[in-house]
């Protein structure tokens, strides 16, 4: 993958949320994202997995500057996203788009589908007004919908169809980079497969780069060449997807793979059932954030004291003192 040009480069991204109460501003912010770095090459799909609250969605939103970052930098096609003026940012947004999880909330209920898809074209004046309906029609066709869908309202569509509309809306501005924030998590399996296949096809046909955020490793495997695993706002492991699944180096990755339900009664993996639940991101444990739940036989006091940095182990980079 070394011949790929870096399209997106994220360095030490930090996003903290301060919770404000009636009489106080709490002292300890929620460390949603706490120093995340990665790159995405042109045409590459990077998977980003983790459980709820690990900060994966925040990463996606902060990269697009839909949330203001607390620290770090994002380079996209040579532009420093965080230092752009609002109007420069608006122009650049054409190049990077997002597809959301919730197929019900992601479309304006009072806007006809055609207008929703046309919005980006209008904003960036990508086509003369007279040609917009035709463009919308071909975008809808590209995502597998009837062109007459343009005249209808979102509530007339099923979850899977709405997700297709959301994809068409994002593609309308001809982006090169697409953040997919759990785009199939709330869909039924048979429909989920349709949307995953559609994304794979669009990625190939348009040469898109994708950041595919999900909690389901099996789906990520369908799309991503490389995968990043997050736990409590930090990357714990990153590796080519197949090596990650075959030889997970970080104990958390091992547990995640082991817990994933596989629809095959003959697959009897030695199940690792983790104790406890992810701690609160406003008070992460000292040292390695995973240490209270860790089952690694070599777990020691160093894990409680010293935060492990990512280091190369075989194909992977894992943030564990004892990874091998």
């Amino acid at each position: 993958m070394s011949d790929h040009r870096g399209l997106l480069e994220v360095v030490d991204l930090v996003k903290h949320f301060r919770t404000t109460g009636l009489f106080r501003t709490t002292a300890s912010p929620v460390r949603a994202v706490d120093g995340v770095s990665f790159t995405i090459a042109q045409g590459e799909t990077l998977g980003l997995v983790g459980e709820s609250g690990c900060g994966k969605s925040t990463v996606g939103r902060t990269i697009l500057r839909l949330e203001e970052p607390t620290g770090g930098s994002v380079q996209f096609e040579g532009h420093d996203i965080f230092s752009l003026t609002p109007s420069e940012l608006r122009t650049l947004r054409r190049r990077m788009q997002i597809v959301f999880q919730d197929p019900y909330g992601s479309l304006n209920p009072r806007m006809r589908v055609g207008r929703a898809v046309a919005e980006g074209i209008e904003i960036h004046r990508l086509a003369p007004r007279a040609e917009i309906p035709e463009r919308v029609g071909s975008l809808l066709a590209e995502v597998g919908l009837d062109p007459d869908a343009a005249e209808r309202y979102p509530h007339e569509f099923s979850g899977g169809q709405r997700q297709r509309i959301g994809i068409a809306r994002a593609l309308a501005v001809e982006p090169v980079f697409l953040v997919c924030d759990e785009p199939v998590s709330s869909l039924d399996v048979s429909v989920q497969a349709q949307v995953v296949n559609l994304l794979a096809e669009l990625q190939r046909a348009r040469g898109l780069s994708l950041l595919f955020i999900a909690h389901d490793l099996a789906i990520v495997r369908q799309l991503a060449q490389r995968t990043l695993v997050m736990y409590l706002g930090r990357v714990v492991e990153t590796a080519p997807t197949e090596s990650l699944l075959a030889t997970p180096r970080h104990p958390y990755t091992q547990a995640l793979i082991s817990a994933a339900p596989e629809p095959d009664p003959t697959v009897t993996r030695s199940r690792i059932v983790l104790g406890g639940e992810p701690p609160s991101p406003s008070a992460p444990p000292s040292g390695c954030a995973f240490h209270p739940r860790c089952f690694h036989p070599k777990k020691d006091t160093r894990c409680q004291r010293e935060r492990p940095e990512l280091r190369q182990v075989g194909d992977s980079a894992a943030a564990c003192h004892h990874a091998e």
């Binding site: 788009q97 959301f100 919730d102 304006n108 009072r110 919005e119 904003i123 960036h124 309202y153 994002a170």
Partner: protein, 260 residues
């Protein structure tokens, strides 16, 4: 809804149908006539036809109410949208102003200003009612916007590079239509009552221009002699307020594509 359309039609067509409400003392029929064939709603102490005064009053009262509410809802929506969507200090400043304004009784302010004005032009009266009535609406809309701006479709529009004004007009405003209509209908009822109250106190629209509140004021001395002089304008107020509220409910469903 039909009631309301009827009311508006009557108000518009009034001058063509009925005797002049201002000065047509029907000396022959005399004063304080009970309802009868000639004067369906009777006559008042100046022998004017109550029906034509109620109908003409509808013109004045409804005009005042609709225009005043149009002003207040527009102001309320604008302030609510800006405060809710921009957030930060803009929100803080606007909302403190609203808090302050809400602490002052509206009737008191109106009485003060209206009483100080020698002869109040109708337009000024309408603007006064409008500019003192938007505080609650702005609160309501701000709350709605705070919720709506978290919706993924608003995020998606931002990601598409949409300008703030576009987001406000295309995404936020249409989705606040429901609460706005509720605020508007409640507002119309409120202003009709408020205008009646002010006129009743003698500081609203000055006689001889007929307004419903003014008519009730004029007839209070003859309440027991000629009750029809106050019952009919009173009924008109009740029916109008009811009709507007029902109409608002219907309209809210009609503009929601999900109820199609």
């Amino acid at each position: 809804m039909l009631t309301l359309v009827g009311l508006v039609l009557i108000a518009i067509a009034a001058p063509m149908l009925l005797p002049d409400p201002l000065a047509q003392p029907d000396i022959l029929q005399g004063v304080n006539q009970p309802p009868g064939a000639k004067h369906w709603f009777g006559t008042d102490q100046l022998s004017r036809d109550v029906l034509s005064r109620v109908v003409t009053g509808a013109r004045i009262s409804l005009t005042i109410a609709f225009l005043a509410v149009a002003v207040s809802v527009t102001l309320g929506a604008m302030v609510g949208l800006v405060a809710g969507y921009w957030g930060g200090w803009v929100d803080a400043v606007l909302m403190r102003i609203v808090d302050g304004a809400l602490a002052i009784p509206r009737l008191f302010v109106l009485l003060l200003v209206v009483a100080a004005w020698e002869s109040l032009p109708l337009l000024v009266f309408i603007l006064l009612l409008g500019t003192t009535g938007w505080f609650g609406t702005s609160r309501l809309i701000r709350g709605e916007v705070l919720r709506l701006k978290q919706e993924p479709y608003v995020r998606a529009a931002e990601a598409l590079g949409a300008h703030r004004i576009r987001i406000v007009l295309r995404h936020l405003l249409p989705n606040t239509a429901g609460p706005l209509l509720v605020a508007a209908t409640l507002g119309v009822g409120n202003v009709v009552l408020l205008e009646a109250g002010l006129s009743f106190l003698g500081v609203g629209v000055r006689p001889p221009t007929p307004t419903w509140g003014g008519m009730i004021l004029d007839s209070q001395e003859i309440l027991f002699v000629a009750p029809w002089t106050s019952i009919f304008p009173g009924l008109a107020i009740v029916i109008t307020v009811l009709a507007v509220n029902l109409f608002g409910d219907a309209l809210r469903e009609a503009v929601d594509p999900r109820h199609a």
